[in-house]
């Protein structure tokens, strides 16, 4: 099989640690955000973000999800729990086969229909995304929960391209300016903790910022995600339990252990 890891029973999250030992670490993501373990923190430095809609380039089917590549120039994420300046590298999404699951993080055990991840890296300390991903403060990922409801107009710019990237490895230009900032819920507090990438190699280099309030996307938009296939056009369908569709691509939660989740009310 061409896929070395995935979400089926043969190559799913339980098996990742065999090839990617970091996946068995004690700073892994996602986690269940239990309100029992939360400390509120008030920072004088508000979390701020700025993106350049024209720099959003194209959407790719990675075989695990759709991913939008961004030219980070001019973007900026700083303040809140972060030291220094982070810029946007890419954003992608996790979802489930039905609307009652799909998010990676959960809140008091509750799952959402999906979770958007905006992946940033620390340009104050590091020279490249790859270098940053080797350090504990290298990346900052913003997580935004999706719930089924109203159509999200900005997301439409992506779902419009998804039929053109049905198979793994395909790529399509977005063609119109797209503002990733419109995926971040206004007026929402957030949770922050030290974690990892949620896909192999599961490197423990991520400062997580998970927004409390979900944004709404329509059922049809979620259905468009579920039509992506996890194999290349020229390959045969790997007959896993999802018939080769990317139906569930979320990693189950892992123990918080000694880590602390802090809650910030913007």
């Amino acid at each position: 099989m061409s896929i070395d890891w995935g979400y089926s029973q043969y190559n799913g999250p339980e098996t990742w640690a065999k090839c990617y030992p970091e996946a068995a670490g004690d700073r892994q993501s996602p986690v269940d955000i239990q309100q029992v373990c939360i400390k509120s923190f008030n920072t004088n430095r508000k979390l701020t973000w700025r993106y350049v809609p024209e720099n959003t380039e194209d959407v790719t089917n990675t075989g695990y999800c759709w991913k939008v590549h961004v030219n980070g120039k001019g973007s900026e994420l700083c303040g809140g729990p972060l030291e220094g300046k982070y810029i946007l590298e890419q954003f992608h999404c996790h979802w489930g086969e039905t609307n009652d699951q799909g998010s990676e993080h959960t809140v008091n055990g509750q799952k959402f229909a999906g979770e958007l991840h905006l992946v940033h890296w620390n340009t104050t300390k590091y020279h490249s995304f790859c270098e940053a991903a080797k350090h504990p403060d290298g990346l900052c990922v913003i997580g935004v929960f999706l719930k089924a409801g109203k159509r999200h107009p900005e997301l439409d710019k992506i779902t419009a391209q998804l039929p053109r990237v049905e198979y793994k490895g395909q790529r399509a230009k977005i063609g119109v300016p797209l503002n990733p900032g419109l995926f971040i819920p206004e007026e929402s507090g957030y949770y922050t903790y030290q974690g990892s990438l949620t896909t192999p190699p599961c490197s423990e280099c991520v400062i997580w910022i998970v927004f409390k309030e979900p944004i709404e996307v329509s059922h049809e938009q979620l259905m468009a995600f579920r039509n992506l296939k996890c194999y290349c056009e020229e390959e045969k369908c790997p007959c896993d339990e999802f018939q080769g569709f990317v139906k569930n691509n979320f990693r189950p939660t892992l123990p918080l252990g000694k880590r602390e989740i802090r809650e910030c009310r913007q």
């Binding site: 008030n42 008091n108 055990g109």
Partner: protein, 680 residues
């Protein structure tokens, strides 16, 4: 060996006992079992006694290496792997195809909230998707459970108090009356009932139309007179297994879950020499049983019906999993799992709250407690108003403010032993001092619990106004206080951004033990002179002439009741009460010499919550206080934590009681508040 501190004397008696084994047990006192687990992990102690619930807490502690090395078994069943095994018994010829077939049957239970007859079937049936949802937000957890049982079964017998509130109890028994229909006395549906309890459930099955009974194996054996078969005929009955199959009563029972034994738990360092420790415990058991030593039961949890028995070293988590018991402890109704968030104002309070959350969760107290830390009491009130936190316990003066300014309501009140739910605000002076009346206090140095609080602020201010020592129109009153006293420590006064506030903070010391003056005048435990004990300490060592505290503050911190360095040698006889109408009295005559008779501290929540939510929070608080009033050795809810006093609740509280209407004392006290708040 780690023991809760009140057992220290008994433990030392045990330690002095000669045994065959020459090993010596050293007793390490801890606040409660919760702290014992911590001390065993940190190698301060080697081992301690644990229930399965304590093992659960231990298993969830990060980076632990605990080992359960010895069990406490009963003499009746020393070879049984578990303390008891929960089973389902049916009539052998019952036509049941799989577990789904339980729907619509007549079901016999031990009683409400009990392990084998209630929690275990509920947990396991929920897991198998047989029983309906338990997370209707409109209903409290208990009502959700009852409703689910009521829907699943045609008839049942589940006796007991369904709610601690008699009114709600009656209401539910009417609403879900089919759950009482199989009882001997359906109209009362309470203990004693011939068809309740372990054997009652079997009688209900055999003689009252029951089709399935939830009970323990040992009672099944007794009921059927096994192995002799002289009582009921075992041929007519069968065990129903969780996979839906049947097993003869005479065969090996299939269990739904088992309750593990209690036992002793150590850390990994002890494992090397554990045999010596095991011999010692066994020696102590035989000597103690022979002499009827009081320490046997209290310290080692052994008696003449039990026997210590070594087991293969096992981690507490594996120990519970082996019995399928972890999920029984963890049972919940979600997701989303509800939490009731306690608002706290210091890191120590946060830690106590987290400890409470873990301890209560392990003892099946739901919803779970959560903890939210804020900087001040006032920001807590705001957070509760805005639904960012749920509860906080407040001094009555603050309750009044919370009610007026933040739309919060009191739901439970603290109780103080024989005084019930009220306390006296008093003025304490040193015995040698010359103050004979309140008038003499002019120009003195004063110590207060905190701004806006009853004993430390409202009561003395009220008294000074009443005695015309502070004119009624001398607004604002904090300024008037700063002019009346030469210097004060009134924690929280820094919030007043006026020049005179400096005066009101002058006597404060910051965190004296950490020598940190940046926290000077903070209204929390980071100011050593804050709160009741703090105000008294300000009198003792901070240069204060008078401390405005409550009647139990002096006795609680003198004559050896407070082992902190500054307090260990204090004598209550060196202090006196200054009476508002002149004269002085010994500290125990507060009933004749007090500034105000104050309503108790109360827990408040947001008035905008639904009634069902408020009931749920109230029940949670009352069951928590009940649990830990009965068993302070498990977790000391009312008492100091990490050396800090009055966290979450006042240390002097002895329980919590539901409040609905304003009491006489509250009405009377409202006059005090009207006067002292009348200045603006």
């Amino acid at each position: 060996m780690c023991v809760p501190e009140h057992l220290l004397d008994l433990c030392q008696q045990m330690s002095a006992q000669e045994t065959k084994s020459s090993a010596k047990i050293i007793c390490i006192p801890a606040r409660d079992r919760f702290e014992c687990i911590e001390k065993i992990k940190q190698r301060v102690a080697d081992f301690g006694t644990v229930d399965p619930e304590d093992m659960y807490i231990a298993a969830k502690t990060p980076e632990q290496d605990f080992a359960v090395f010895e069990e406490i078994r009963t003499r009746e069943e020393p070879e049984a792997e578990f303390r008891y095994e929960a089973v389902a018994v049916i009539h052998k010829d019952l036509d049941i195809k799989g577990i789904e077939g339980l729907k619509g049957l007549n079901s016999c239970h031990t009683g409400v909230g009990r392990n084998v007859g209630y929690k275990i079937p509920l947990t396991k049936l929920k897991q198998k998707g047989i029983i309906g949802p338990l997370n209707d937000p409109e209903l409290s957890p208990r009502e959700n459970e009852l409703k689910a049982f009521s829907t699943l079964f045609s008839k049942a017998c589940i006796v007991g108090k369904w709610s601690p509130d008699p009114k709600i109890n009656l209401e539910w028994k009417k609403k879900y009356s089919n759950l009482c229909a199989l009882c001997e006395k359906p109209e009362t549906c309470d203990y004693p009932d011939n068809f309740s309890g372990y054997d009652g459930a079997l009688r209900c099955l055999a003689h009252n139309g029951g089709q399935v009974a939830w009970t323990k194996v040992i009672y099944v054996r007794k009921f059927f007179g096994l192995p002799d078969g002289i009582k009921e005929n075992p041929e007519k009955f069968a065990y129903l297994c969780p996979d839906g199959t049947k097993v003869p009563i005479t065969g090996t029972p299939c269990r739904w879950a088992a309750r593990p034994w209690q036992g002793y738990m150590a850390n990994a360092d002890v494992v090397k020499t554990v045999d010596e420790l095991r011999r010692k415990i066994e020696n102590l058991d035989s000597v103690g049983t022979k002499n009827h030593a009081p320490w046997l039961e209290k310290v080692l949890e052994l008696n003449d019906k039990t026997v210590p028995k070594e087991n293969k070293i096992i981690s507490p988590g594996d120990y519970l999993d082996k019995a399928n018991y972890t999920d029984v402890i963890e049972r919940d109704y979600g997701p989303p799992f509800k939490t009731v968030r306690f608002c706290v104002t210091s890191h120590d309070e946060y830690l106590k709250c987290q400890a409470l959350s873990q301890a209560a969760f392990s003892r099946d107290i739901r919803p779970r407690f959560g903890c939210v830390e804020e900087k001040t009491v006032e920001s807590c009130m705001k957070s509760i108003r805005d639904n960012l936190a749920d509860i906080i316990s407040l001094d009555y003066g603050q309750v009044d403010k919370a009610r007026r300014e933040y739309n919060l309501v009191p739901i439970v009140a603290e109780q103080y032993g024989s005084l019930g739910g009220a306390y006296y605000a008093v003025a304490v002076v040193k015995k040698g001092s010359k103050f004979a009346s309140f008038a003499d206090l002019k120009g003195a140095k004063s110590c207060h619990t905190g701004l806006g609080r009853t004993a430390g602020y409202h009561a003395p201010l009220y008294t000074l106004i009443r005695l015309n020592l502070v004119p009624k129109n001398a607004c604002p009153y904090p300024k008037a206080l700063s002019e009346f006293f030469k210097a004060s420590c009134l924690p929280g006064a820094r919030e007043i951004k006026e020049g005179y506030a400096e005066h009101l903070c002058e006597l404060c010391g910051g965190d004296i033990d950490k020598r940190d003056v940046t926290t000077k005048c903070n209204h929390d435990s980071s100011e050593s002179y804050s709160g009741y004990t703090g105000a008294f300490r300000c009198l003792v060592e901070g240069g204060g002439d008078v401390a405005f505290v409550k009647h139990v503050t002096v006795p609680g911190n003198t004559d050896g009741h407070n082992r902190d360095k500054w307090a260990e040698h204090l004598k209550s006889g060196d202090y006196e009460l200054l009476c508002p109408d002149g004269g002085r009295k010994p500290v125990d005559q507060y009933e004749q010499c007090h500034l105000a008779h104050a309503p108790p501290h109360m827990v408040v929540t947001s008035h905008s919550k639904r009634n069902s939510e408020i009931d749920e929070i109230r029940n949670l608080l009352i069951s928590t206080s009940k649990q830990y009033t009965e068993r302070p050795d498990l977790f000391k809810l009312f008492g100091s934590f990490n050396g800090k006093k009055d966290l979450l609740f006042k240390d002097s509280a002895t329980g919590l009681k539901s409040v609905s209407q304003e009491s006489e004392i509250e009405k009377e006290y409202s006059k005090v508040l009207a006067l002292v708040n009348g200045c603006a």
